[in-house]
Amino acid sequence: MSDFETVAATENQAARRGVSGEPGTPGRAGRPERARSLAGDAWRDLRRNPVFWISLLLVVLVAAMAVVPGLFAANDPRDCVLSRQHAGPSGGAIFGYDFQGCDTFARAVYGARASLLVGALSALITGVIALVVGMLAGYFGGWVDAVLSRVIDIVLGIPLLLAAIVLLKRVSTSGDTVRLFAVIFVLALLGWTTAARVVRSSVITAREQDYVAAARMLGAGNGRIMWRHILPNALAPAIVVLTIALGSFIAAEATLSFLGIGLKAPTISWGIDIDAGRVHMRESATPLIVPSAFLALTVLAFIMLGDAIRDAFDPKLR
């Protein structure tokens, strides 16, 4: 369970930093002096960062695997024949076959869909909850902030893995789709707090800006100010945190499936395959190593992507 804590710790750094760059930072020496937006500045930094391109490439690759797995793997992952148990590489199965005689590589490729679906949807729901709660708490302050902040404190105090175990035991006999959405909702329900804190702190900074006061003087209502003027400022740091959170949600889904309370066969998930490969590692290690590598690379890609974007948006690090 330390996975979640450590990622949360990384996210907290993002929370403290937020985005505090002044728009229109003057260009470097030798370049024409031109006012650039923070986003433009960050993009210029990102373009030259190899880590950004590598992680983006990995993310796109995994996303493509999730959408059209047939392009990457020739065999059907559910076509398992016991007679070729732990057989070596042959006919499209570049990593050989696992204990059940299924194509190891094909299963890893098809496993991307469940992982990415869980990660992306949990991150989406997390983002919505975090934006609503963070905006309300940061913009209105006072008792609204006090109540919402205590709620955040309490949810943050609940250990994610333990709570997920309890919540998911309720659906242990349900069908595949129910399970999938149960995992998504449980992760979102427990994982929105860090992002909400980030949004809250950037809303508080944005609220005090002159342009907000100007908008108010022009007669803009609370809704318009929040939507048009504050939301764009809170979005960038929230997206960074959510990118990193997406990686940790994928790891969490695999962990839950590994334990046997997340997704279950016939759904193909890296967590399930890692657990199955672990049992037979003495006979053949590839069924363990292949899904492990897929999972680790995917999680790493999202975390590095988030890290790179955050570094680009943080003027203090330049």
Binding site: S2, R150, I158, L259, I274, M281, S292
Partner: protein
């Protein structure tokens, strides 16, 4: 200070009731027929049914009945009575046998974290932007990004099976040596965070005014770093380590499960696998309490170490 502790305590009590209520409501209240669940596949006579219904107030519906049963569960939890697992063992007995092993494993993991993480963090901060600094940053990113369910089985495979340096599983009465590999795997995650925290904190403190003062007084660099800077920069690290110790006490579900270390996490792992509901609920309830308590202790400790925390 007293106000801080009181407020923090109140917050914890709220969290305690909140989490136990959720655990209870989800695990017990929603199930179909608890008496039949208790009996398994055997038939239940009307007399037994009437007796159990009377004993546990199962016929009382609505808020009165639910909260009566909830407080019954809470009372048992506070007194250490966690009921029986499906195999008929007292859950408190299972936990009593498991704690020492988990504690041993946690201490090993902690030692790994402190010895390697803090030392490397200080070195990385002193030689900022050097080769060592960049190497450790990349390495910690890798460790942070790789989930335990990948790290633990792979470590077991490579260092236990492929190159048998360590025993691949720990077994019933694990020796120190058998616990070393799981301890390293467990400690590596907190090691990465501890390293990064130490590095950030030491870097910030190296720029502080008191360091400049110390340097202009003519103090040697070793003394400045070893005494002045370290004392100030280890506060957040200590807090983190405290929280981690709380996590390690019960959080080692995956590592203990993979390496067959018969600790608390292993029993939870087994309970989930064998669908042993009472065992899972019992252990999770206790772990939640441990987690909340360790967070409380750390927060208070933090306020003692750093007076700035008390006035927010």
């Amino acid at each position: 200070m007293l106000r801080f502790i009181l407020r923090r305590l109140l917050q914890m009590v709220l969290a305690f009731f909140g989490t136990t209520l959720i655990v209870y409501a989800l695990m017990f209240a929603g199930q179909g027929d608890p008496i039949q669940a208790l009996a398994g596949e055997r038939p239940v006579t009307p007399a037994q049914r009437a007796y159990l219904t009377e004993k546990y107030h199962l016929d009382a519906t609505g808020v009165g009945g639910f909260f009566y049963r909830y407080f019954n569960y809470l009372g048992g939890l506070v007194q250490g009575d966690l009921g029986q697992s499906l195999t008929g063992r007292q859950i408190s007995d299972i936990l009593a046998a498991a704690w020492p092993v988990t504690l041993k494993l946690a201490v090993i993991a902690m030692a790994v974290t402190v010895i390697f993480g803090v030392t490397a963090g200080v070195i990385a901060a002193i030689r900022r932007s050097g080769v060592f600094d960049h190497a450790t940053l990349v390495l910690t990113l890798l460790v942070l990004g790789i989930p335990t369910i990948v790290l633990a089985p792979l470590a077991q495979y490579f260092f236990g099976v492929r190159w048998p340096i360590f025993p691949p599983t720990a077994g019933a009465q694990p020796s120190f040596y058998a616990l070393l590999l799981p301890g390293i795997v467990l400690g590596s995650l907190s090691l990465a965070t501890a390293l990064r925290l130490t590095r950030t904190s030491v870097t910030e403190n190296l720029r502080a005014d008191y360091v400049r003062t110390a340097r202009s007084k003519g103090l040697r660099r070793r003394r400045i770093v070893g005494v002045h800077v370290l004392r100030n920069s280890l506060i957040p690290v200590i807090t983190f380590l405290g929280v981690e110790l709380g996590n390690l006490m019960g959080g080692a579900i995956i590592t203990e499960g993979v390496f067959n270390v018969p600790g608390v996490g292993f029993n939870l792992f087994r309970g989930i696998r064998t669908e042993d509901g009472p065992l899972v609920v019992g252990i999770v309830s206790v772990l939640v309490v441990v987690y909340l308590l360790s967070n409380l202790v750390v927060d208070v400790l933090y306020a003692v170490l750093d007076p700035r925390i008390r006035y927010e």
